[in-house]
């Protein structure tokens, strides 16, 4: 098999490189209208007439000069790639609506790559927005002035892609496929920022590009509303309230539907078996355990949709600006806002997204506090306990529900605790980390495309179910076996699990919890969502005669008190019960001390706060 050809994608942050990469490779890399969304080098095989190519997408950069140590690593990687690897074509992507910095990077790249004679194609993305603003981009004039091919494209709707693909083939046709050559580092002086290049780019942009005042007019008008003193603050608070209320209220019909489906499927499946262990296994382990987790997936789906909508609209960058001042009081930055908001969906990508926080100190703090935010894995636990403990009362003509308010309270509790922890650590152990000031580019406002958001949210929800479902299935089956045997009668008290549960009961009795909850907590230390499946299996075993019924109803009738329920909620709001999160903290901080420290500290804090909560409510 011959060597494959290589395409390298470079450009400023938020110019649509990831969308371009996805269109060329058919992959589904995360895209958003927020600078710095790509945090690592991505690679994928080209599609269609580029199937002989590998496409490499580098994180966006403003110049070859780093502001922090982490950025330095990323830029050094790119410099090494440009110096030592031979790329067949470099695609320099720029935003057609704001050409200045894109052209500056393109001119700089042209100078660097003239040393290796690597062909560059200048991809002027977002041409649809220039057309919509009734402005012009003089493609021919710009191409002549730069002595480079310029292709106007829209990575959003695919305009110009055919021509771009042809040009890639043309440019690489005369070259032998890329081969690893003996490293011959380029002169370091070539990468220095050169003001004359920037001045030249400004001149070219004004001469050949669209009029920025016309393009920015609408965005600046909208910013006068969304970022204005009082009104902007109110919109921000209302948006956040809507987000959290929607997770609980909007997902209700879907959750009810799934619950009905699981109940009827469970009863139907069980009817195929004669009474005995087989029937009990299907009823309790499969539909009682795994089914009780699936009921909560709609909440996760709604959360992903809303975050996707806010990201694509450009509002998240504004929210980051509004939240900068309040967050900075706790040692964080406005740039921490997006990773923290993502933390409400899942801590793992959120911790990785913290790479967009350019200050090493604030990045470290952001990583440490993300596990305290209510991730989607906590939703099944909260949903179950709230449904079991809090009555379904409504106010304001049914718009605000009591259960939704308790939900919001738990989110706020996690957030408040995260801020307090950050404030304390920023004054103590984070002092050794260097700091950089806050600057962020405002992306344009855009109408989000509903279809990609729905597809992406569905994909993420399925991936969550796939990832967590495997663990939950294994744990619930093991729990069922331990709870059903050795006597095979389903008598929990004399089962293996009963014996383990009774042995650890004294640990959880200060929170007023019986041994079954102790077992559920213990089994959920790998992944917290296992809690619901375990309880489903445990109470399914006990309620086997009544067939499957709603787990919340079973818990309600089992004697779980409000004090114990609140203690459990607080425990789950704080404890770091996610092995993958611990692993990603270790990877991102490159410190096992930080990862283990966070795990131990949050577990102890969760226990202490759980006991205090029980005593307050008792």
């Amino acid at each position: 098999m011959g060597k494959r050809s290589q395409i390298l994608i470079i450009g400023n942050p938020n110019v649509g490189k990831s969308l371009l990469f996805n269109r060329l490779t058919g992959l589904k890399q995360k895209v958003a209208n927020f600078p710095g969304i790509t945090v690592e080098v991505l690679s994928g095989a080209g599609e269609g007439n580029l199937s002989n190519f590998d496409v490499v997408d580098f994180p966006g950069l403003y110049s070859f000069r780093a502001m922090s140590r982490d950025e330095e690593v990323a830029i050094e990687n790119l410099k090494t790639a440009l110096s030592t690897a031979r790329y067949d074509v470099v695609l320099c992507v720029m935003d057609s609506t704001r050409l200045e910095r894109g052209l500056s990077l393109a001119l700089h790249l042209k100078k660097i790559l003239s040393q290796t004679q690597t062909p560059i194609i200048l991809v002027s993305n977002m041409i649809d927005e220039v057309i919509r603003s009734k402005e012009l981009l003089d493609v021919e004039g710009l191409s002549k002035a730069l002595d480079l091919p310029v292709i106007p494209v829209s990575a959003r709707n695919g305009t110009g892609f055919e021509r771009m693909r042809e040009l890639i083939l043309e440019k690489s046709a005369g070259l032998a496929p890329a081969v690893a050559e003996t490293p011959r580092p380029l002169d370091a002086a070539l990468f220095q920022f050169q003001p004359e290049i920037a001045e030249h780019a400004t001149g070219l942009s004004r001469r050949y590009g669209p009029r920025s005042d016309v393009i920015l007019k609408t965005h600046n008008r909208l910013d006068k509303v969304f970022l204005s003193g009082a009104f902007g603050g109110l919109i921000f608070i209302a948006t956040m309230l809507l987000l959290f209320q929607a997770i609980f209220s909007w997902s209700s019909p879907l959750m009810d539907g799934i619950q009905t489906l699981i109940l009827s499927s469970g009863n139907w499946s069980a009817s195929w078996f004669a009474e005995g262990p087989d029937r009990d296994f299907v009823n309790e382990a499969l539909f009682g355990g795994v089914g009780s987790f699936l009921v909560f997936v709609p909440q996760i789906f709604i959360l992903f949709i809303i975050i996707g909508f806010l990201e694509d609209s450009g509002y998240l960058a504004r929210a980051a600006i509004i939240s900068h001042r309040p967050l900075s009081l706790f040692g964080l930055s406005g740039r921490s806002f997006v990773p923290m908001l993502s933390g409400f969906a899942c801590a793992i990508p959120a911790i990785m997204a913290a790479r967009a926080v350019d200050s090493p100190k604030k990045r470290f703090l952001t990583i440490l506090v993300i596990p305290l935010l209510t991730c989607s894995a906590r939703l099944p636990v909260y949903g179950l306990l709230i449904a079991a403990l809090i009555p379904k009362k409504t106010a304001l003509f049914g718009l605000v529900g009591l259960q939704g308010l308790v939900f919001l309270g738990l989110y706020l509790f996690g957030l408040l605790l995260a801020l307090i922890v950050s404030g304390i650590i920023s004054q103590t152990s984070a002092k050794n980390y260097s700091d950089t000031p806050f600057i962020i580019e405002l992306p344009p406002y855009r109408w989000p495309s509903i279809k990609p958001i729905l597809l992406s949210s569905l994909g993420k929800s399925f991936s969550f179910v796939k990832k967590a479902g495997g663990v939950i299935f294994v744990v619930t089956v093991v729990i069922w076996f331990l709870g059903y045997f050795p006597d095979g009668s389903g008598n929990l008290a004399t089962s293996y699990l009963g014996r383990v549960g009774h042995a650890i009961e004294p640990v959880f009795s200060p929170m007023g919890l019986n041994w079954k909850f102790g077992v559920a907590i213990l089994t959920s230390f790998l992944a917290r969502e296992v809690f619901v499946g375990t309880l489903g299996t445990l109470y399914g075993i006990e309620a086997a005669d009544e067939h499957i019924s709603s787990l919340a109803d079973v818990l309600k009738n089992s004697g779980l008190t409000l004090a114990s329920g609140m203690a459990l909620l607080v425990f789950y709001a704080v404890a770091l019960q996610c092995a993958s999160t611990v692993a990603v903290i270790h990877k991102e901080t490159r410190s096992s001390k930080a990862a283990i420290g966070v795990l131990v500290f949050y577990s102890l804090l969760a226990y202490v706060l759980g006991v205090i909560t029980f005593n307050i409510f008792a």
Binding site: Y62, R65, E100, L216, D223, R325, P437, I439
Partner: protein, 87 residues
Amino acid sequence: MRIIIIMGDLWTLKVNQVAVVSGFSTSMTEAFQGRLSALGFRSGQKVFCLGETPFGGPRIFQIGDSVFSLARDLARGIAVETLEMQS
């Protein structure tokens, strides 16, 4: 009537006021100066203050064809000149 040049920093700009960047504070590190230059904050460039944000947060500035939000500590490090009419 005469026109006078007022020297200040970016944070002193009022909303809707235009200024010209004249340099950086000596306390600003070279790395920050480099980044700001790459973003367009270079001597002689026109900068426009678009607005303030809630809770006394960062302010919004347009430079060239881009809009940025800068926190107080960074904006204080960018020297600007404004023109004023004095009778």
